[in-house]
């Protein structure tokens, strides 16, 4: 009798653990489906002031750019980079994904948010330069094995240019974190 009870208890615990595992996985997948949090500070921008609509669309499109980049690097799908990247930024990231495929690597990001500071908005409104302070947890996996796992705060200098219906990331370069 006691053996049967113990067996049922073990089965119940295993079932709960399994369901919890599925819930955690689904929660993480749902979290990845959301673009990361991006805050824009345009107090010191020049020489052109940022228009209201642009001050909303730039952080929105930058967040989508990060979301698609993280997904592209995790799932090794270079095609995802077409939507929010252009020019050298797109070329470099496609190259990165292709080399990950070649080496059997994946990169997983836990994105804890971005603080954007607008630095320069060209007088003609055809380019905007931003500094991003990104808080990330980065994991690099070789097959299924985690070979690198580190939380980090990175600083990027970003140039975005307007596309047909959105702002596109044209240049994205990590800096040392110090203001040059």
């Amino acid at each position: 009798m006691r053996d049967t009870a113990a067996r049922y208890s073990s089965l119940a615990i295993l079932s709960i653990a399994f369901v919890c595992g599925i819930l955690v996985r689904d929660f993480r997948a749902a979290a990845a489906a959301e673009p990361p949090r991006v805050e824009l500070n345009a107090d010191n921008i020049g020489p052109r002031p940022l228009e209201d609509l642009t001050s909303k669309s730039v952080p929105r499109d930058y967040a989508f750019a990060w979301q698609t980049m993280e997904q592209a690097l995790e799932e090794n799908r270079p095609g995802l980079l077409e939507a929010y990247f252009t020019g050298l930024a797109k070329q470099d990231l496609i190259q990165r994904v292709n080399s990950q495929i070649k080496s059997g690597l994946h990169t997983h990001y836990e994105d804890r948010g971005h603080k954007l500071e607008a630095l320069f908005y060209s007088p003609a409104g055809d380019a905007i330069q931003l500094r991003d302070r990104a808080q990330l947890d980065v994991q690099v996996l070789d097959g299924g094995k985690v070979i690198y796992d580190e939380p980090m705060t990175l600083q990027y200098v970003v140039i975005m240019t307007p596309g047909a219906d959105r702002w596109l990331v044209r240049e994205m370069q990590t800096t040392t974190g110090e203001k040059p």
Binding site: L119, R131, I147
Partner: protein
């Protein structure tokens, strides 16, 4: 005693087999090869993750690892990872841009009215040979190269890789070249300067067989440049029949129209926001 000896031997072995470590330089320059020192022993996997690459190769832990210049052309953060039998060790380093040697030059607009103060904007992005944005301040030269005039140039320091300047258009119409230069790199863009709005718009009237011919003097801007053909001039007539407006494009420098007139008439002319003189005429009756 035997147990003690065995324990001592195991301790020595454990101390001897230190964990693998990896020591890249803290900073490197784009397009320059580096050597990464490692410690440990045995076969290991070396990974180098950069902004545009992720590579893997087999190395011997404890030996130096050479990284080619081609693998370090992109400025940014790189992570070097060494995985041996005792686990993985990693270290990050930064690749800085090389010397500035490329420019990306944006000039707006491509057509501009003459004599417009600060109407042209010129923006230069400073890059190195590998298309990395050079963030250190650099002196960028902007030049105006008129077709038949003296070159004028000004220097601006780049900030975060960007230098810019506002320019005024010349008083004379025609194409002008704008240039920017840094190191061995230079870029040229052409801006077409066109006549501005009409100035001193004047009309005169003469009789034809049936109507009144109203025509402008040659239409010029305030600097004496001919306003381009196709620019619309509006003639407005107010007479006994009411008010009539006729829009006429300039052809060969002038705009003209034939209008029937009943009784006394007042004729005015305008082009864009510019108005000209008024004529008071009497009709044929």
């Amino acid at each position: 005693m035997r147990t003690l000896t065995t324990g001592f031997a195991l301790l020595l072995a454990a101390l001897g087999a230190s964990a693998s470590e990896i020591h890249p330089p803290a900073q490197a320059t784009a397009g320059t090869a580096i050597t990464i020192a490692t410690s440990g022993s045995g076969s290991a996997s070396f990974y180098l993750i950069g902004p545009a690459s992720a590579s893997k190769r087999q190395v011997q832990a404890g030996s130096d690892i050479s990284v080619d210049s081609e693998q370090l052309e992109h400025a940014g953060r790189y992570t070097a990872i060494l995985c041996a039998s005792d686990g993985c060790a990693s270290a990050s380093f930064v690749v800085n841009p090389a010397a500035p040697n490329r420019l990306s030059f944006l000039v707006h607009p491509s057509r501009v009215p003459v004599d417009s103060p600060n109407r042209i904007s010129a923006v230069a992005f400073v890059f190195d040979n590998f298309h990395n944005l050079v963030l250190q301040p650099e002196s960028v030269t902007f030049s105006i190269l008129p077709k038949d005039g003296k070159e004028v140039s000004a220097r601006r320091n780049s900030e975060n890789g960007v230098a810019w300047v506002r320019l005024s258009s010349a008083r004379k119409e025609g194409a002008t070249r704008l240039g920017t230069a840094i190191g061995h790199a230079n870029e040229i863009r052409v801006v077409q300067q066109v006549a501005a709005d009409a100035c001193n718009l004047r009309i005169r009237a003469s009789r034809t067989k049936r109507d009144l011919l109203v025509e402008t003097d040659p239409v010029r801007d305030c600097s004496g440049n001919s306003v381009p053909d196709g620019t619309v001039v509006s003639f407005t007539k107010v007479d006994g029949a009411g008010k009539t407006t006729v829009d006429v494009p300039i052809k060969r420098g002038v705009a003209k129209v034939e209008m029937p007139v009943e009784g006394r008439a007042r004729i005015t002319v305008a082009s864009g926001v510019v108005t000209g003189n008024e004529l008071e005429v009497a009709g044929a009756q």
